[in-house]
C-alpha cells in the first residue's frame, strides 16, 4: 500500500457554501444562467470580488450544447486554472479535490466551484436518451425509463444478495424527508412515512416513485482557497483533509454492488489521519437509495449488506451518531442536474461552519462526503470521496 500512499491536503479551506434555490421547471433558462447565479451568490456570500477569482471548476450537463469552455467568457472571468468536470454525481468531490491541489501548488489562489443546470419540460428525456453512446445504443432502445431500469436492476440484485426488502430503502427515504422538512429550499417537504413510501406507484420494479429523484433546475457552489487566504479575507471555512477519485472500478462484476470507494477508502482515511469512527457527518450521492447503501458499505461505515441495519438503527438520522444527507438529499431536495453532485459537499460545509439550511447535526466535526456518477450502460463509472473537518473558532472564523 505504501507506494499508493496519498498525500493529504495542506491548509486547504472550503468556504461560502451556496445554493441557488431549486425550481421544478424553469422555461427559457439554460444552464449558463444558473451557473451565473451561482457565481454571483458566491461573490455575495464571501465578499470576494468577481475579479479575484482566478480558478474555476464547473460541472453542468447543459454546457455541452454550447462549448464548455465558453462558460469562462459568459461569466466574465480571467483564469489561471480552469477545470470542466464531466463526472456527474461525483463532481462535487472531484471539484474539491482538484481545486485543493490547485491552491496548494499556487496554480490558482481562489477557485470557484460551481455546478448547475436548467430544467424545461421534456428536457430530462433529451438528456438521458443519449447520455452516453453505450446507454443510447444498448439501454435506451429497451424502453428504459431514463436511468431507472438500470438502477432498478441494481436494487433488485442488492435486495436478493443481502436479503432486504423495499422497506430498507424506504427508511432512508423517510429519514431524509424528515431532514428536508426543516430545509426551506427542499422541493419535497410534505411528511412521508414508510406506509406512504411503500404505497406509491411502481416506476421500474422494484423502484417506486420515492426511490427516484425529481429533476429540477438550480445550482450549488463553494470556494476553495488556502486557509491563510480565507483568514485574510475573513470568510468562514471548513478544512479539507483528503480526497480520492476512482473511475471504472470493478468493471467485470456482473452487477454493480460495489464501487471504487472500496479500493480508495483505506488510503483516504490514512491520508486524513482519521478512522471510520471519527466520522460524525455523512453525505452520500442518493440518486437512488441503493447507491447510498453502496457508499456506506464501500467506505466502511457499514459492513457489506449492513447499510439497511445502520439506517434502521437510527444512526443516520439528524440526531444519530452518523447524521446522513442532512438537508434531505436529492431524494427530497430534487436533482438539479449536475448540481446534485455538489449537494452533499455544500451541505457538509454548511454543517461544519455551523450554518445549515435545516437542523444542525451537532456537533459535526468530521464529515465524509462521497459521490457517484455517470451511468454508462449497466453501471456508474465515477466514484469519489472526501473528508473535511470543522475549524474551531479562531481568527478568521
Amino acid at each position: 500500500m505504501t507506494e499508493r500512499a496519498l498525500r493529504p491536503f495542506d491548509g486547504v479551506a472550503v468556504c461560502a457554501p451556496i445554493t441557488v434555490p431549486y425550481v421544478r421547471h424553469a422555461p427559457g433558462l439554460p444552464a449558463q444562467t444558473w451557473l451565473a447565479r451561482a457565481l454571483r451568490a458566491l461573490v455575495e456570500a464571501s465578499g470576494v470580488s468577481h475579479r479575484e477569482i482566478d480558478g474555476l471548476a464547473v460541472a453542468s450537463f447543459g454546457l455541452a450544447a454550447d462549448a464548455p469552455a465558453a462558460i469562462v467568457s459568459h461569466l466574465g472571468l480571467d483564469l489561471s486554472w480552469f477545470s470542466y468536470l464531466p463526472h456527474g454525481g461525483a463532481c462535487g468531490v472531484v471539484a474539491l479535490r482538484r481545486a485543493a491541489r490547485a491552491v496548494e501548488t499556487g496554480e490558482a489562489r481562489i477557485v470557484a466551484c460551481i455546478a448547475g443546470d436548467g430544467h424545461e419540460r421534456g428536457a430530462f428525456r433529451d438528456l438521458v436518451a443519449d447520455f452516453t453512446w453505450s446507454f443510447q445504443d444498448a439501454v435506451w432502445p429497451y424502453g428504459a425509463a431514463g436511468p431507472n431500469a438500470i438502477f432498478a436492476m441494481i436494487t433488485r440484485a442488492y435486495m436478493q444478495t443481502h436479503g432486504v426488502d423495499r422497506a430498507a430503502f424506504g427508511r432512508l427515504a423517510v429519514q431524509q424527508r424528515r431532514h428536508a422538512m426543516d430545509n426551506p429550499l427542499a422541493l419535497l417537504r410534505d411528511p412521508l412515512d414508510l406506509d406512504d413510501y411503500l404505497a406509491t406507484r411502481p416506476i421500474a420494479e422494484p423502484l417506486h416513485l420515492f426511490d427516484c429523484v425529481m429533476p429540477c433546475a438550480g445550482a450549488e457552489g463553494f470556494l476553495v482557497m488556502r486557509e491563510d487566504t480565507a483568514q485574510r479575507l475573513g470568510v468562514r471555512r471548513a478544512r479539507a483533509l483528503a480526497a480520492v477519485e476512482r473511475h471504472g472500478a470493478f468493471a467485470s462484476d456482473p452487477v454493480q454492488l460495489r464501487g471504487g470507494w472500496e479500493i480508495e477508502a483505506e488510503r483516504l482515511f490514512a491520508a486524513a489521519g482519521r478512522g471510520c469512527r471519527d466520522v460524525d457527518l455523512l453525505q452520500t450521492y442518493d440518486d437512488y437509495p441503493v447507491i447510498s447503501f453502496l457508499q456506506m458499505e464501500g467506505l466502511g461505515l457499514a459492513e457489506r449488506g449492513g447499510a439497511a441495519a445502520l439506517v434502521e438503527s437510527g444512526a443516520t438520522a439528524i440526531d444519530g451518531r452518523l447524521p446522513h444527507n442532512t438537508c434531505g438529499g436529492q431524494l427530497s431536495c430534487g436533482q438539479a442536474g449536475a448540481a446534485g453532485g455538489f449537494l452533499g459537499m455544500v451541505e457538509a460545509v454548511r454543517q461544519l461552519i455551523g450554518r445549515p439550511l435545516g437542523r444542525a447535526a451537532s456537533p459535526a466535526t468530521t464529515a465524509l462526503v462521497s459521490g457517484y456518477g455517470m451511468i454508462d450502460y449497466d453501471r456508474g463509472l465515477c466514484t469519489a470521496a472526501a473528508i473535511l473537518e470543522r475549524v474551531e473558532k479562531e481568527a478568521g472564523a
Binding site: 430530462f124 428525456r125 438521458v128 436518451a129 443519449d130 453512446w133 453505450s134 443510447q136 445504443d137 444498448a138 439501454v139 435506451w140 432502445p141 429497451y142 424502453g143 428504459a144 425509463a145 431514463g146 431507472n148 431500469a149 438500470i150 432498478a152 436492476m153 441494481i154 433488485r156 440484485a157 436478493q160 406507484r201 411502481p202 416506476i203 421500474a204 420494479e205 422494484p206 423502484l207 456482473p254 452487477v255 450502460y377 449497466d378
Partner: protein, 176 residues
Amino acid sequence: MSASEASLPPVARSPFGEIFDACAEAAHGGLVLPRCGGCGAWIHPARNFCPACLGEDLRAEELREAVGALVSWTRLHASLEPWFRDRLPWDVGLVRLDAGPNLVVHLGDGLERRIGARARVLAVRDAAGRRVLVAVSRDRDVPGRGGRSARLEEFVARAAGAAKNPAETTEIKERS
C-alpha cells in the same frame, strides 16, 4: 421528434451502435456480436476497438451458445418513450453470458423472472427495424437449434409492433 418517430422504439444510434446493428443474422441459432481477433473477447456494447486489449482487429462472429444467467431484471411501469408507454408494463433484464459480456435485453415471455435463471439470448429487429436483444428460456422458447416456440414468435411480433415498413415485417417473418 417527428410524429412517425414517436410511434416507434428509439431509432437513434451512435457510430458504435451502428456496428451492432450491422451484424449479420445468426446462421446457426446463436448470436452474432463483435469479437476481438486479438484476445477473443466478445464485445457489447459494440465498439470498433477492444476495451480488453485495445486491439482493432474486430469482426462480427456467431456465438453458437449464447447462453448465460439472468443477473437482474425489472418491470417497467413508466417510460419516457411513447412506443413503450403504450405497451407497459414491459420487462427488461440483464444477462451475463457465459462467454463474457453483460447484455441488457428484452425478456421473452417464457423466461422465468428469477435472478440466476438460465437464458438464451437472440437478436431480433424491433418495430423501428433496429437490432435488439431478447432473452428467452433455454428450453421452452427455443426447443431445437434455431427453432422458436409459438410463444417466442408472439413476443417477437409484439416487440416488432405494427411495423409501418412492410420490408421490416417481412424480415422478421423470414427469420422465423
